[in-house]
Symmetry: C2
Subunit: 307 residues, 2 copies
Protein backbone atom coordinates (compact mmCIF):
# COMPACT_ATOMS: atom_id res chain seq x y z
CA UNK A 1 0.00 0.00 0.00
CA UNK A 2 1.11 3.57 -0.66
CA UNK A 3 3.53 5.15 1.79
CA UNK A 4 3.91 8.92 1.80
CA UNK A 5 7.01 10.55 3.23
CA UNK A 6 7.52 14.21 3.92
CA UNK A 7 11.05 15.31 4.72
CA UNK A 8 14.17 16.94 3.42
CA UNK A 9 15.88 16.65 0.06
CA UNK A 10 19.45 17.82 0.33
CA UNK A 11 22.95 18.02 -0.95
CA UNK A 12 25.55 16.76 1.48
CA UNK A 13 29.30 17.20 1.69
CA UNK A 14 30.65 14.39 3.84
CA UNK A 15 34.05 13.46 5.19
CA UNK A 16 34.70 10.16 6.95
CA UNK A 17 37.91 8.28 7.80
CA UNK A 18 37.33 6.38 4.54
CA UNK A 19 37.03 9.28 2.14
CA UNK A 20 34.94 12.25 1.23
CA UNK A 21 32.24 13.33 -1.15
CA UNK A 22 31.10 16.78 -2.27
CA UNK A 23 27.49 17.90 -2.74
CA UNK A 24 26.02 14.46 -3.20
CA UNK A 25 22.32 13.74 -3.07
CA UNK A 26 21.04 13.32 0.49
CA UNK A 27 18.24 14.29 2.83
CA UNK A 28 15.95 12.30 5.09
CA UNK A 29 13.18 11.89 2.49
CA UNK A 30 15.68 10.69 -0.11
CA UNK A 31 17.22 7.95 2.04
CA UNK A 32 13.81 6.98 3.35
CA UNK A 33 12.23 6.77 -0.12
CA UNK A 34 15.01 4.69 -1.61
CA UNK A 35 15.03 2.24 1.30
CA UNK A 36 11.23 1.93 1.36
CA UNK A 37 11.00 1.55 -2.43
CA UNK A 38 12.09 -2.11 -2.20
CA UNK A 39 8.95 -2.93 -0.22
CA UNK A 40 6.05 -0.76 -1.33
CA UNK A 41 4.78 2.17 -3.41
CA UNK A 42 6.45 5.35 -2.15
CA UNK A 43 5.37 8.97 -2.58
CA UNK A 44 7.53 11.87 -1.57
CA UNK A 45 6.79 15.45 -0.51
CA UNK A 46 9.66 17.89 -0.11
CA UNK A 47 11.22 21.02 -1.53
CA UNK A 48 14.29 21.55 -3.74
CA UNK A 49 16.03 24.53 -5.29
CA UNK A 50 17.14 25.36 -8.78
CA UNK A 51 20.33 23.32 -8.38
CA UNK A 52 18.29 20.12 -8.13
CA UNK A 53 18.28 18.64 -11.64
CA UNK A 54 16.22 16.02 -13.44
CA UNK A 55 19.18 13.70 -12.96
CA UNK A 56 18.88 14.02 -9.18
CA UNK A 57 15.18 13.37 -9.34
CA UNK A 58 15.80 10.36 -11.56
CA UNK A 59 17.62 8.61 -8.69
CA UNK A 60 14.24 8.27 -7.00
CA UNK A 61 12.19 7.84 -10.16
CA UNK A 62 14.14 4.80 -11.37
CA UNK A 63 13.29 3.19 -8.05
CA UNK A 64 9.62 3.80 -8.83
CA UNK A 65 9.24 6.56 -6.27
CA UNK A 66 6.41 8.96 -7.08
CA UNK A 67 8.08 12.40 -7.11
CA UNK A 68 5.08 14.54 -8.04
CA UNK A 69 5.19 15.96 -4.52
CA UNK A 70 8.64 17.50 -4.93
CA UNK A 71 8.15 21.27 -4.91
CA UNK A 72 10.59 23.52 -6.74
CA UNK A 73 11.46 26.87 -5.22
CA UNK A 74 13.70 29.76 -6.17
CA UNK A 75 17.14 29.45 -4.62
CA UNK A 76 19.31 26.57 -3.53
CA UNK A 77 18.51 23.16 -2.13
CA UNK A 78 19.11 22.48 1.58
CA UNK A 79 22.82 21.87 2.12
CA UNK A 80 24.58 20.03 4.93
CA UNK A 81 28.26 19.49 5.42
CA UNK A 82 29.66 17.30 8.15
CA UNK A 83 32.39 14.93 9.12
CA UNK A 84 32.83 11.78 11.14
CA UNK A 85 35.86 10.87 13.21
CA UNK A 86 36.73 7.27 14.06
CA UNK A 87 33.61 7.21 16.20
CA UNK A 88 31.21 6.85 13.31
CA UNK A 89 28.16 7.11 15.55
CA UNK A 90 28.52 10.90 15.82
CA UNK A 91 28.69 13.50 13.08
CA UNK A 92 30.23 16.92 13.50
CA UNK A 93 28.25 19.46 11.52
CA UNK A 94 30.35 22.04 9.69
CA UNK A 95 27.71 23.84 7.65
CA UNK A 96 23.93 23.87 7.60
CA UNK A 97 22.33 26.03 4.91
CA UNK A 98 18.55 25.74 5.10
CA UNK A 99 18.06 27.57 1.78
CA UNK A 100 14.66 26.66 0.26
CA UNK A 101 13.81 24.54 3.30
CA UNK A 102 13.46 27.71 5.35
CA UNK A 103 10.12 28.65 3.77
CA UNK A 104 8.93 25.13 3.05
CA UNK A 105 5.15 24.74 3.09
CA UNK A 106 4.33 21.11 2.33
CA UNK A 107 1.61 20.65 -0.27
CA UNK A 108 0.07 17.24 -0.69
CA UNK A 109 -0.71 16.47 -4.35
CA UNK A 110 -4.31 15.40 -4.87
CA UNK A 111 -3.11 11.98 -6.03
CA UNK A 112 -1.41 11.35 -2.70
CA UNK A 113 -4.40 11.77 -0.43
CA UNK A 114 -5.28 8.07 -0.40
CA UNK A 115 -1.88 7.12 1.11
CA UNK A 116 -2.60 4.78 4.00
CA UNK A 117 0.88 5.04 5.47
CA UNK A 118 2.65 8.26 6.35
CA UNK A 119 6.12 9.05 7.58
CA UNK A 120 6.98 12.46 8.99
CA UNK A 121 10.75 12.59 8.59
CA UNK A 122 12.87 15.03 10.54
CA UNK A 123 11.49 18.52 9.76
CA UNK A 124 9.94 21.31 11.82
CA UNK A 125 7.27 19.71 14.07
CA UNK A 126 4.85 22.47 13.04
CA UNK A 127 5.03 21.16 9.48
CA UNK A 128 4.82 17.56 10.71
CA UNK A 129 1.52 18.32 12.47
CA UNK A 130 0.22 20.19 9.45
CA UNK A 131 0.88 17.23 7.16
CA UNK A 132 -0.56 14.83 9.69
CA UNK A 133 -3.80 16.78 9.79
CA UNK A 134 -3.94 17.08 6.01
CA UNK A 135 -3.53 13.29 5.80
CA UNK A 136 -6.21 12.40 8.31
CA UNK A 137 -7.05 9.23 6.40
CA UNK A 138 -3.59 7.75 6.94
CA UNK A 139 -4.04 4.73 9.20
CA UNK A 140 -0.45 4.28 10.38
CA UNK A 141 1.89 7.20 10.94
CA UNK A 142 5.58 7.19 11.82
CA UNK A 143 7.76 10.12 12.77
CA UNK A 144 11.31 11.21 13.46
CA UNK A 145 12.84 14.31 15.04
CA UNK A 146 16.21 15.63 16.26
CA UNK A 147 17.87 17.52 19.13
CA UNK A 148 17.31 20.85 17.34
CA UNK A 149 13.52 20.52 17.58
CA UNK A 150 13.51 18.77 20.97
CA UNK A 151 15.34 21.73 22.42
CA UNK A 152 13.86 24.49 20.24
CA UNK A 153 10.20 23.56 19.74
CA UNK A 154 9.19 21.29 22.61
CA UNK A 155 5.49 22.30 22.61
CA UNK A 156 5.13 21.90 18.87
CA UNK A 157 6.88 18.54 19.07
CA UNK A 158 4.54 17.45 21.87
CA UNK A 159 1.65 18.20 19.50
CA UNK A 160 3.22 16.02 16.80
CA UNK A 161 3.83 13.19 19.27
CA UNK A 162 0.12 13.00 20.02
CA UNK A 163 -0.66 12.36 16.36
CA UNK A 164 1.70 9.55 15.46
CA UNK A 165 1.64 5.81 15.96
CA UNK A 166 5.36 5.12 16.08
CA UNK A 167 8.28 7.41 16.78
CA UNK A 168 11.77 6.48 15.57
CA UNK A 169 14.66 8.30 17.27
CA UNK A 170 18.16 7.50 18.50
CA UNK A 171 19.54 7.01 22.01
CA UNK A 172 20.62 10.62 22.50
CA UNK A 173 17.33 12.02 21.23
CA UNK A 174 15.31 9.67 23.46
CA UNK A 175 17.31 10.71 26.53
CA UNK A 176 16.96 14.37 25.67
CA UNK A 177 13.24 14.15 24.93
CA UNK A 178 12.47 12.28 28.17
CA UNK A 179 15.12 14.00 30.27
CA UNK A 180 16.13 10.57 31.55
CA UNK A 181 19.37 8.65 30.96
CA UNK A 182 17.79 5.21 31.34
CA UNK A 183 16.49 4.17 27.92
CA UNK A 184 13.69 1.87 29.16
CA UNK A 185 12.50 4.60 31.50
CA UNK A 186 12.86 7.24 28.79
CA UNK A 187 10.83 5.02 26.49
CA UNK A 188 7.93 4.84 28.92
CA UNK A 189 7.96 8.58 29.42
CA UNK A 190 7.87 9.20 25.66
CA UNK A 191 5.10 6.64 25.14
CA UNK A 192 3.09 8.53 27.74
CA UNK A 193 3.29 11.59 25.44
CA UNK A 194 1.32 9.93 22.66
CA UNK A 195 2.92 7.38 20.35
CA UNK A 196 1.82 3.76 20.66
CA UNK A 197 5.30 2.50 19.92
CA UNK A 198 8.80 3.92 20.15
CA UNK A 199 11.78 2.63 18.20
CA UNK A 200 15.08 3.66 19.75
CA UNK A 201 18.00 3.26 17.36
CA UNK A 202 21.32 2.32 19.00
CA UNK A 203 23.59 2.78 15.99
CA UNK A 204 25.99 -0.16 15.66
CA UNK A 205 24.19 -1.99 18.48
CA UNK A 206 20.83 -2.26 16.72
CA UNK A 207 17.48 -0.91 17.82
CA UNK A 208 14.76 -1.61 20.39
CA UNK A 209 11.04 -1.11 20.01
CA UNK A 210 8.99 -0.35 23.12
CA UNK A 211 5.20 -0.56 23.13
CA UNK A 212 2.53 1.21 25.09
CA UNK A 213 0.44 -1.27 27.09
CA UNK A 214 -2.14 -2.71 24.73
CA UNK A 215 -0.77 -0.92 21.66
CA UNK A 216 -1.94 -2.53 18.41
CA UNK A 217 -3.28 -5.35 20.58
CA UNK A 218 0.18 -6.92 20.67
CA UNK A 219 1.34 -6.67 24.24
CA UNK A 220 3.97 -4.43 25.68
CA UNK A 221 7.16 -6.51 25.73
CA UNK A 222 10.00 -4.77 23.94
CA UNK A 223 11.77 -6.31 20.96
CA UNK A 224 15.39 -5.84 19.99
CA UNK A 225 16.86 -6.13 16.51
CA UNK A 226 20.59 -6.22 15.84
CA UNK A 227 22.76 -4.16 13.55
CA UNK A 228 25.33 -5.90 11.42
CA UNK A 229 28.93 -5.84 12.67
CA UNK A 230 30.50 -4.10 9.65
CA UNK A 231 34.28 -3.75 9.47
CA UNK A 232 34.25 -0.79 7.15
CA UNK A 233 31.44 1.67 7.65
CA UNK A 234 32.13 3.95 4.71
CA UNK A 235 29.58 6.66 5.53
CA UNK A 236 26.97 6.51 8.29
CA UNK A 237 24.91 9.38 6.84
CA UNK A 238 21.32 8.36 6.27
CA UNK A 239 21.51 5.11 8.25
CA UNK A 240 18.66 6.17 10.51
CA UNK A 241 16.45 7.34 7.62
CA UNK A 242 17.18 4.10 5.77
CA UNK A 243 16.21 2.16 8.88
CA UNK A 244 12.94 4.09 8.97
CA UNK A 245 12.40 3.42 5.25
CA UNK A 246 12.89 -0.33 5.61
CA UNK A 247 10.76 -0.38 8.74
CA UNK A 248 7.81 1.63 7.38
CA UNK A 249 8.12 0.13 3.89
CA UNK A 250 7.83 -3.40 5.21
CA UNK A 251 4.84 -2.54 7.42
CA UNK A 252 3.09 -0.85 4.47
CA UNK A 253 3.65 -3.99 2.38
CA UNK A 254 1.81 -6.24 4.84
CA UNK A 255 -1.91 -6.87 5.08
CA UNK A 256 -2.20 -6.36 8.81
CA UNK A 257 -0.16 -5.14 11.73
CA UNK A 258 0.67 -7.70 14.38
CA UNK A 259 3.65 -8.35 16.64
CA UNK A 260 5.39 -10.53 14.06
CA UNK A 261 5.08 -7.85 11.37
CA UNK A 262 6.50 -5.29 13.80
CA UNK A 263 9.44 -7.58 14.64
CA UNK A 264 10.23 -8.24 11.02
CA UNK A 265 9.96 -4.52 10.28
CA UNK A 266 12.66 -3.95 12.92
CA UNK A 267 14.88 -6.47 11.14
CA UNK A 268 14.24 -4.93 7.71
CA UNK A 269 15.03 -1.52 9.19
CA UNK A 270 18.39 -2.81 10.38
CA UNK A 271 19.01 -4.49 7.04
CA UNK A 272 18.43 -1.28 5.05
CA UNK A 273 20.57 0.69 7.52
CA UNK A 274 23.38 -1.82 7.07
CA UNK A 275 23.30 -1.40 3.28
CA UNK A 276 23.20 2.41 3.52
CA UNK A 277 26.52 2.66 5.38
CA UNK A 278 28.45 0.44 2.97
CA UNK A 279 28.94 3.25 0.43
CA UNK A 280 28.95 7.02 0.39
CA UNK A 281 25.57 8.73 0.20
CA UNK A 282 22.69 6.88 -1.39
CA UNK A 283 24.93 4.80 -3.68
CA UNK A 284 24.23 1.40 -2.15
CA UNK A 285 20.49 1.99 -1.85
CA UNK A 286 20.10 2.70 -5.55
CA UNK A 287 20.65 -0.73 -6.99
CA UNK A 288 19.81 -3.42 -4.51
CA UNK A 289 17.63 -6.40 -5.27
CA UNK A 290 14.98 -7.89 -3.05
CA UNK A 291 17.06 -11.10 -3.05
CA UNK A 292 20.07 -9.28 -1.61
CA UNK A 293 17.82 -7.72 1.00
CA UNK A 294 16.30 -11.04 2.01
CA UNK A 295 19.71 -12.71 2.09
CA UNK A 296 20.87 -10.09 4.55
CA UNK A 297 17.68 -10.53 6.55
CA UNK A 298 18.76 -14.17 6.93
CA UNK A 299 22.20 -13.04 8.14
CA UNK A 300 20.49 -10.86 10.76
CA UNK A 301 18.49 -13.88 11.83
CA UNK A 302 21.55 -16.12 12.12
CA UNK A 303 23.34 -13.38 14.04
CA UNK A 304 20.73 -13.44 16.79
CA UNK A 305 18.75 -16.67 16.78
CA UNK A 306 19.19 -19.82 18.80
CA UNK A 307 18.16 -23.06 17.19
CA UNK B 1 32.38 -30.50 34.92
CA UNK B 2 34.56 -28.55 37.32
CA UNK B 3 35.26 -24.92 36.54
CA UNK B 4 38.16 -23.20 38.29
CA UNK B 5 38.28 -19.42 38.57
CA UNK B 6 41.22 -17.35 39.73
CA UNK B 7 40.53 -13.71 40.43
CA UNK B 8 39.94 -11.10 43.07
CA UNK B 9 37.94 -11.28 46.28
CA UNK B 10 37.17 -7.81 47.49
CA UNK B 11 35.22 -5.40 49.59
CA UNK B 12 33.50 -2.67 47.61
CA UNK B 13 32.00 0.64 48.61
CA UNK B 14 29.57 1.64 45.89
CA UNK B 15 27.44 4.66 45.21
CA UNK B 16 24.86 4.76 42.43
CA UNK B 17 21.89 7.07 41.72
CA UNK B 18 19.78 4.45 43.54
CA UNK B 19 21.69 4.23 46.81
CA UNK B 20 24.96 3.23 48.34
CA UNK B 21 26.60 0.37 50.17
CA UNK B 22 29.71 0.23 52.33
CA UNK B 23 32.33 -2.51 52.27
CA UNK B 24 30.14 -5.19 50.77
CA UNK B 25 31.47 -8.44 49.39
CA UNK B 26 32.72 -8.10 45.81
CA UNK B 27 35.56 -9.03 43.50
CA UNK B 28 35.65 -10.65 40.07
CA UNK B 29 36.06 -14.20 41.41
CA UNK B 30 33.13 -13.72 43.78
CA UNK B 31 30.64 -12.53 41.14
CA UNK B 32 31.93 -15.12 38.69
CA UNK B 33 31.65 -18.01 41.17
CA UNK B 34 28.16 -17.16 42.28
CA UNK B 35 26.90 -16.78 38.71
CA UNK B 36 28.59 -19.99 37.53
CA UNK B 37 27.41 -21.97 40.56
CA UNK B 38 23.92 -22.32 39.05
CA UNK B 39 25.35 -24.33 36.18
CA UNK B 40 28.32 -26.40 37.30
CA UNK B 41 30.82 -27.25 40.06
CA UNK B 42 32.92 -24.15 40.78
CA UNK B 43 36.31 -23.89 42.46
CA UNK B 44 37.86 -20.59 43.42
CA UNK B 45 41.45 -19.42 43.88
CA UNK B 46 42.10 -15.99 45.36
CA UNK B 47 43.49 -14.17 48.35
CA UNK B 48 41.79 -12.43 51.27
CA UNK B 49 42.94 -10.56 54.36
CA UNK B 50 42.14 -10.89 58.02
CA UNK B 51 38.95 -8.85 57.62
CA UNK B 52 37.41 -11.60 55.49
CA UNK B 53 35.29 -13.67 57.84
CA UNK B 54 33.74 -17.12 57.73
CA UNK B 55 30.45 -15.34 57.07
CA UNK B 56 31.85 -13.82 53.88
CA UNK B 57 33.16 -17.19 52.76
CA UNK B 58 29.80 -18.75 53.52
CA UNK B 59 28.19 -16.64 50.75
CA UNK B 60 30.08 -18.82 48.29
CA UNK B 61 29.93 -22.03 50.26
CA UNK B 62 26.14 -22.08 50.50
CA UNK B 63 26.11 -21.94 46.72
CA UNK B 64 28.27 -25.06 46.69
CA UNK B 65 31.42 -23.22 45.59
CA UNK B 66 34.62 -25.00 46.61
CA UNK B 67 36.56 -22.37 48.57
CA UNK B 68 39.61 -24.44 49.53
CA UNK B 69 41.63 -22.28 47.14
CA UNK B 70 41.03 -19.06 49.07
CA UNK B 71 44.36 -18.07 50.57
CA UNK B 72 44.51 -16.03 53.77
CA UNK B 73 47.22 -13.41 54.15
CA UNK B 74 48.17 -10.93 56.80
CA UNK B 75 46.59 -7.54 56.24
CA UNK B 76 43.41 -6.36 54.62
CA UNK B 77 41.37 -7.66 51.69
CA UNK B 78 41.50 -5.81 48.37
CA UNK B 79 39.26 -2.75 48.61
CA UNK B 80 37.57 -0.77 45.85
CA UNK B 81 35.39 2.26 46.13
CA UNK B 82 33.59 3.78 43.20
CA UNK B 83 30.51 5.57 42.05
CA UNK B 84 28.23 5.65 39.03
CA UNK B 85 26.48 8.70 37.66
CA UNK B 86 23.31 8.45 35.58
CA UNK B 87 25.41 6.80 32.89
CA UNK B 88 25.56 3.43 34.59
CA UNK B 89 27.92 2.01 32.00
CA UNK B 90 30.91 3.80 33.50
CA UNK B 91 32.25 3.73 37.05
CA UNK B 92 34.37 6.45 38.57
CA UNK B 93 36.95 4.88 40.88
CA UNK B 94 37.52 6.80 44.11
CA UNK B 95 39.80 4.40 45.97
CA UNK B 96 41.74 1.27 45.05
CA UNK B 97 43.63 -0.41 47.89
CA UNK B 98 45.35 -3.54 46.60
CA UNK B 99 46.26 -4.68 50.14
CA UNK B 100 46.86 -8.47 50.18
CA UNK B 101 46.32 -8.65 46.40
CA UNK B 102 49.65 -6.86 45.94
CA UNK B 103 51.71 -9.94 46.83
CA UNK B 104 49.22 -12.54 45.62
CA UNK B 105 50.83 -15.74 44.41
CA UNK B 106 48.08 -18.10 43.27
CA UNK B 107 48.42 -21.64 44.59
CA UNK B 108 46.29 -24.35 43.07
CA UNK B 109 45.10 -26.86 45.67
CA UNK B 110 45.90 -30.44 44.70
CA UNK B 111 42.21 -31.26 44.53
CA UNK B 112 41.68 -28.61 41.83
CA UNK B 113 44.15 -29.94 39.28
CA UNK B 114 41.56 -32.00 37.41
CA UNK B 115 39.45 -28.91 36.58
CA UNK B 116 38.66 -29.11 32.87
CA UNK B 117 37.47 -25.52 32.64
CA UNK B 118 39.44 -22.50 33.75
CA UNK B 119 38.64 -18.81 33.95
CA UNK B 120 41.37 -16.24 34.45
CA UNK B 121 39.46 -13.27 35.82
CA UNK B 122 40.89 -9.78 35.78
CA UNK B 123 44.25 -9.97 37.61
CA UNK B 124 47.88 -9.31 36.64
CA UNK B 125 48.50 -11.11 33.32
CA UNK B 126 51.73 -12.52 34.77
CA UNK B 127 49.63 -14.42 37.31
CA UNK B 128 47.11 -15.38 34.63
CA UNK B 129 49.88 -17.03 32.59
CA UNK B 130 51.29 -18.74 35.67
CA UNK B 131 47.93 -20.28 36.52
CA UNK B 132 47.32 -21.24 32.91
CA UNK B 133 50.61 -23.14 32.83
CA UNK B 134 49.94 -24.81 36.18
CA UNK B 135 46.58 -25.95 34.82
CA UNK B 136 47.87 -27.39 31.56
CA UNK B 137 45.20 -30.07 31.58
CA UNK B 138 42.36 -27.54 31.38
CA UNK B 139 40.71 -28.04 28.02
CA UNK B 140 38.83 -24.76 27.74
CA UNK B 141 40.17 -21.52 29.13
CA UNK B 142 38.51 -18.12 29.35
CA UNK B 143 40.05 -14.83 30.37
CA UNK B 144 39.33 -11.21 31.17
CA UNK B 145 41.50 -8.12 31.59
CA UNK B 146 41.19 -4.34 32.00
CA UNK B 147 42.63 -1.03 30.78
CA UNK B 148 45.20 -1.02 33.61
CA UNK B 149 46.90 -4.16 32.26
CA UNK B 150 46.35 -3.35 28.58
CA UNK B 151 48.25 -0.11 29.12
CA UNK B 152 50.68 -1.26 31.79
CA UNK B 153 51.66 -4.82 30.87
CA UNK B 154 51.05 -5.25 27.14
CA UNK B 155 53.76 -7.90 26.62
CA UNK B 156 52.64 -9.96 29.57
CA UNK B 157 49.04 -9.69 28.40
CA UNK B 158 50.07 -10.80 24.89
CA UNK B 159 51.53 -13.92 26.51
CA UNK B 160 48.23 -14.61 28.29
CA UNK B 161 46.25 -14.08 25.08
CA UNK B 162 48.18 -16.88 23.38
CA UNK B 163 47.09 -19.33 26.05
CA UNK B 164 43.35 -18.82 26.21
CA UNK B 165 40.45 -20.04 24.14
CA UNK B 166 38.04 -17.19 24.70
CA UNK B 167 38.60 -13.64 25.86
CA UNK B 168 35.75 -11.65 27.42
CA UNK B 169 36.20 -7.87 27.51
CA UNK B 170 34.10 -4.76 27.02
CA UNK B 171 33.93 -2.28 24.13
CA UNK B 172 36.46 0.15 25.57
CA UNK B 173 38.95 -2.58 26.40
CA UNK B 174 38.63 -4.13 22.94
CA UNK B 175 39.26 -0.77 21.26
CA UNK B 176 42.23 -0.07 23.53
CA UNK B 177 43.75 -3.53 23.09
CA UNK B 178 43.43 -3.45 19.29
CA UNK B 179 44.06 0.28 18.92
CA UNK B 180 41.06 0.40 16.59
CA UNK B 181 37.70 2.09 17.09
CA UNK B 182 35.77 -0.31 14.85
CA UNK B 183 34.67 -3.24 17.01
CA UNK B 184 34.53 -5.85 14.21
CA UNK B 185 38.01 -4.82 13.08
CA UNK B 186 39.29 -4.70 16.66
CA UNK B 187 37.89 -8.20 17.14
CA UNK B 188 39.84 -9.58 14.21
CA UNK B 189 43.04 -7.97 15.43
CA UNK B 190 42.59 -9.44 18.90
CA UNK B 191 41.76 -12.88 17.51
CA UNK B 192 45.04 -12.70 15.57
CA UNK B 193 46.82 -12.41 18.93
CA UNK B 194 45.75 -15.85 20.09
CA UNK B 195 42.24 -16.50 21.37
CA UNK B 196 39.91 -18.59 19.22
CA UNK B 197 36.91 -16.53 20.24
CA UNK B 198 36.36 -13.05 21.57
CA UNK B 199 33.28 -11.93 23.47
CA UNK B 200 32.84 -8.16 23.45
CA UNK B 201 30.41 -6.96 26.09
CA UNK B 202 28.39 -3.86 25.14
CA UNK B 203 26.83 -3.14 28.54
CA UNK B 204 23.11 -2.39 28.16
CA UNK B 205 23.26 -3.32 24.47
CA UNK B 206 24.28 -6.94 24.98
CA UNK B 207 27.38 -8.73 23.73
CA UNK B 208 28.85 -10.08 20.51
CA UNK B 209 31.07 -13.13 20.09
CA UNK B 210 33.54 -13.17 17.20
CA UNK B 211 35.29 -16.36 16.11
CA UNK B 212 38.62 -17.03 14.50
CA UNK B 213 38.16 -18.79 11.15
CA UNK B 214 37.69 -22.49 11.87
CA UNK B 215 37.66 -22.03 15.66
CA UNK B 216 36.07 -25.00 17.46
CA UNK B 217 35.02 -26.20 14.01
CA UNK B 218 31.98 -23.92 14.16
CA UNK B 219 32.52 -21.30 11.48
CA UNK B 220 33.41 -17.70 11.93
CA UNK B 221 30.11 -15.83 11.79
CA UNK B 222 29.61 -13.61 14.84
CA UNK B 223 26.67 -14.02 17.19
CA UNK B 224 24.96 -11.31 19.17
CA UNK B 225 23.06 -11.73 22.44
CA UNK B 226 20.92 -8.99 23.95
CA UNK B 227 20.90 -7.45 27.38
CA UNK B 228 17.61 -6.92 29.11
CA UNK B 229 16.16 -3.40 29.02
CA UNK B 230 15.98 -2.78 32.78
CA UNK B 231 14.31 0.36 34.08
CA UNK B 232 16.14 0.42 37.39
CA UNK B 233 19.72 -0.76 37.27
CA UNK B 234 20.48 -0.63 40.98
CA UNK B 235 24.21 -1.36 40.79
CA UNK B 236 26.14 -2.34 37.66
CA UNK B 237 29.16 -3.59 39.63
CA UNK B 238 30.02 -7.18 38.73
CA UNK B 239 27.76 -7.36 35.66
CA UNK B 240 30.68 -8.34 33.43
CA UNK B 241 32.00 -10.97 35.86
CA UNK B 242 28.48 -12.36 36.24
CA UNK B 243 28.19 -12.52 32.45
CA UNK B 244 31.47 -14.46 32.36
CA UNK B 245 30.23 -16.78 35.13
CA UNK B 246 27.01 -17.60 33.33
CA UNK B 247 28.86 -18.00 30.04
CA UNK B 248 31.65 -20.27 31.31
CA UNK B 249 29.37 -22.10 33.75
CA UNK B 250 26.95 -23.06 31.00
CA UNK B 251 29.74 -24.23 28.69
CA UNK B 252 31.26 -26.32 31.50
CA UNK B 253 27.86 -27.94 32.09
CA UNK B 254 27.58 -29.20 28.50
CA UNK B 255 29.04 -32.38 27.03
CA UNK B 256 30.57 -30.81 23.97
CA UNK B 257 31.30 -27.42 22.53
CA UNK B 258 29.45 -26.52 19.35
CA UNK B 259 27.99 -23.33 17.90
CA UNK B 260 24.64 -23.84 19.62
CA UNK B 261 26.31 -24.28 23.03
CA UNK B 262 28.31 -21.12 22.43
CA UNK B 263 25.18 -19.19 21.47
CA UNK B 264 23.27 -20.35 24.51
CA UNK B 265 26.25 -19.52 26.70
CA UNK B 266 26.05 -15.94 25.40
CA UNK B 267 22.39 -15.82 26.40
CA UNK B 268 23.08 -17.27 29.86
CA UNK B 269 25.86 -14.72 30.27
CA UNK B 270 23.41 -11.92 29.57
CA UNK B 271 20.85 -13.49 31.88
CA UNK B 272 23.25 -13.64 34.83
CA UNK B 273 24.43 -10.09 34.14
CA UNK B 274 20.82 -8.92 34.15
CA UNK B 275 20.21 -10.46 37.56
CA UNK B 276 23.45 -9.04 38.99
CA UNK B 277 22.44 -5.42 38.37
CA UNK B 278 19.01 -5.70 39.99
CA UNK B 279 20.42 -5.38 43.53
CA UNK B 280 23.48 -3.97 45.21
CA UNK B 281 26.56 -6.19 45.22
CA UNK B 282 26.08 -9.95 45.06
CA UNK B 283 22.65 -9.87 46.71
CA UNK B 284 20.61 -11.04 43.73
CA UNK B 285 23.08 -13.76 42.73
CA UNK B 286 22.91 -15.43 46.14
CA UNK B 287 19.44 -16.89 46.02
CA UNK B 288 18.30 -17.48 42.49
CA UNK B 289 16.75 -20.69 41.26
CA UNK B 290 17.46 -22.45 38.02
CA UNK B 291 13.78 -21.95 37.16
CA UNK B 292 14.11 -18.18 37.49
CA UNK B 293 17.22 -18.31 35.34
CA UNK B 294 15.55 -20.34 32.62
CA UNK B 295 12.46 -18.13 32.72
CA UNK B 296 14.66 -15.13 32.06
CA UNK B 297 16.43 -17.04 29.30
CA UNK B 298 13.01 -17.32 27.68
CA UNK B 299 12.51 -13.55 28.03
CA UNK B 300 15.83 -13.02 26.27
CA UNK B 301 14.66 -15.31 23.49
CA UNK B 302 11.35 -13.49 23.09
CA UNK B 303 13.18 -10.18 23.10
CA UNK B 304 15.18 -11.13 20.00
CA UNK B 305 13.52 -13.96 18.07
CA UNK B 306 11.25 -13.85 15.10
CA UNK B 307 8.69 -16.60 14.77
Amino acid sequence: MALLVVGSLAFDSIKTPHGKAERILGGSATYFSLAASYFTEVRVVGVVGEDFTAEHEAVMKVRGVDTRGIQRAKGKTFFWSGEYSENLNEAKTNVTELNVLEDFQPEIPRGYSDSEFLFLANIDPVLQSQVRRAMSSARFVGGDTMNFWIGGKPRELADTLKQIDVMLINDGEARMLAKDHSLPRAANKILAKGPKALVIKHGEYGATVFFREGAFGIGHHPFRAPALPIEEVKDPTGAGDSFAGGFMGYIASQDGLNREVFKRAMFYGGVMGSFAVECFGTERLRNLSRDEIDARFQIFRELTHLE
